[in-house]
């Protein structure tokens, strides 16, 4: 003769409760796991372009101007320094990732979103941006501008 305990959590009743509880948990996991994974977007191949040929001609980049171009999936900016040298930076502001622009009236790069200033070396000189802009390497081959990632 076995004594059947009626205390919750022990004996046959406890076993059934445990079984129901774990199946409920397993059921919920099996429902919500696919939903959670579904909501996370799949990784898209990032454009691995290490360099890009611009359709802009070197002569078209006048001093005291700046132009936005596509570098892979993100915008970049091409400027002509006072020395005549062409320079290119990522146009993604290091503060909250707005796209920067060249301001002819102040002669350097500026972000309209939160008033961040960068000089023509990409250095953050005023406002909230915490870091300089990423710098690219500019090569001029004849009338062709090639911008590439620095090493």
């Amino acid at each position: 003769m076995t004594s059947l305990s009626l205390e919750p959590g022990t004996g046959r009743r406890g076993f059934i409760n445990w079984l129901l509880g774990t199946s409920l948990a397993a059921f919920l996991v099996s429902v919500f796991y696919p939903v959670a994974r579904y909501l996370v977007p799949p990784k898209v191949e990032e454009s691995m372009a290490a360099s890009v040929k611009l359709s802009i001609k070197p002569d078209d980049v006048k001093p005291n101007t700046g132009q936005i171009f596509k570098f892979g999936n993100s915008p970049a900016i091409l400027v002509r320094a006072p020395s005549g040298e062409l320079r290119a930076f990522s146009a993604v502001c290091t503060h909250l990732h707005c796209t920067v622009q060249f301001r002819p009236d102040i002669g350097h790069i500026w972000c309209a979103c939160h008033n961040g200033h960068f000089d023509l070396n990409g250095q953050n000189i005023a406002g909230p941006p915490p870091r300089p802009l990423d710098k690219f390497v500019v090569n001029v081959r004849g009338s062709q501008i090639v911008v590439s990632k620095g090493t």
Binding site: L39, V40, P41, V44, E46, I68, F69, K70, N73, S74, P75, A91, H95, L96, H97, C98, T99, V100, Q101, R103, W110, C111, A112, C113, H114, N115, N124, G127, P128, P129, P130
Partner: protein, 365 residues
């Protein structure tokens, strides 16, 4: 009164037996609203509810023409504004009513805060109200992107980037919100789904709880009125207070129509992910005080990036506001609480001052 036996009386009796009309009648008769010198603030909750109803109605109408994709969203709204009869009116009312609703939500919030209506037993009413405020702001943020114009694109880029600043979960949340690493058409469809399905569902549930609690506890009488010792006076909700409510709603509707006619919602330029952020870019006015604060923060504060300090600061501010019913022990005990009155006034002054600066300070300086 309907006569039993007459056709109207029979219908009434039939319905009463099946759905319990008498219970509703009893509830409507029982509900009374306190009368005192701060009574005007009681109207802002109902006003918000009315404007929300306008949003549901105009939002459904907009759904009939709007196409949620990066290729078609801007064009579908152009079509709506230029070709569809009264398309401009429906969209402008939706936009203006959204703004007025956020405004009345803030008035409601601050009046409840200053009149200490969050004190026991209404803490859960306060929490559900704060959650509804969060949902209203989420409605504003997701709805702002849907026209897929230049301003919306950069506002969303900055707004979602802010979640990326959060420690640990930031990068994951950023991808989850954007539906990828950048703000693209995938972000637009996500925001659309959130705006027209997820948020309405959550608001319906929370609003139900909020209104139920308001009925359960009745309207709060401010402690200053309670302490004055005057005999409490009340007025019936139906019809006295409700009719005044309706007058307010009609005024709001007239104001909406006027605003929509004289200042129709703009569309601007189509979003271009490879264009610079436009000069003078700004968020909706109710995010302006935060936006302007971020502009003033230096790049680093005590070695931490300025925007992290700002964003964590606003998060803590929101948490503080949420927990006010637990933090304000003096009001809970029935004692006057000058400190929390001054905190409330301080918050209002801060929000107004920074919003003012956001609109008057030169965007290029």
């Amino acid at each position: 009164m309907a006569v039993p036996g007459a056709p109207r009386g029979r219908l009434r009796a039939w319905l009463d037996e099946r759905i319990g009309l008498a219970d509703f009648e009893y509830l409507a008769k029982k509900k009374r609203v306190p009368v005192h010198r701060h009574g005007v603030w009681y109207y802002f909750g109902g006003m918000t509810l009315f404007l929300f109803a306008i949003q549901v109605a105009t939002g459904i109408l907009l759904l009939f023409y709007y196409r949620p994709s990066a290729e078609e969203a801007y064009e579908s709204i152009q079509f709506l504004m230029a070709e569809v009869e009264f398309g401009w009116l429906i969209r402008s009312i939706h936009a203006w009513s959204a703004n007025l609703m956020i405004f009345t939500v803030f008035v409601h919030l601050f009046s409840v805060l200053l009149l200490k209506a969050y004190r026991p037993p209404r803490e859960v009413t306060w929490f559900s109200g704060m959650a509804l405020l969060g949902l209203a702001l989420a409605f504003g943020f997701t709805g702002y992107l849907l026209p897929w114009n230049e301003l919306a694109f950069f506002a969303t880029k900055v707004g979602t980037e802010i979640t990326g600043v959060l420690p640990l979960v930031g990068a994951f949340l950023l991808r989850l919100l954007r539906g990828g690493d950048e703000v693209t058409g995938a972000t637009l469809t996500r925001f659309y789904g959130i705006h027209v399905a997820v948020l309405p569902l959550l608001v319906t549930a929370l609003l139900g709880l909020h209104l139920f609690l308001v009925q359960k506890h009745g309207m709060s009488v401010p402690p200053s009125v309670e302490r004055s010792g005057a005999a409490p006076r009340t007025t019936p909700f139906v019809p006295n207070f409700l009719l005044r409510d309706v007058v307010g709603w009609l005024c709001a509707l007239a104001l909406l129509a006027a605003l929509a006619a004289f200042f129709p919602a703009e569309l601007g330029k189509k979003a271009d992910p490879f264009a610079s952020a436009p000069i003078g870019i700004k968020p909706e006015w109710y995010f302006m005080f935060m936006f302007q604060t971020l502009k003033y923060l230096p790049s680093h504060i005590l070695g931490v990036e300025g925007e992290v300090v700002g964003i964590v600061g606003f998060g803590l501010g929101g948490l503080f506001l949420l927990l006010v019913p637990f933090l304000d022990r003096r009001t809970a005990c029935g004692a006057p609480s000058r400190l929390f009155t001054w905190i409330g006034i301080g918050l209002i002054v801060y929000v107004i001052a920074l919003t003012y600066l956001g609109y008057t300070a030169s965007p290029t300086k």
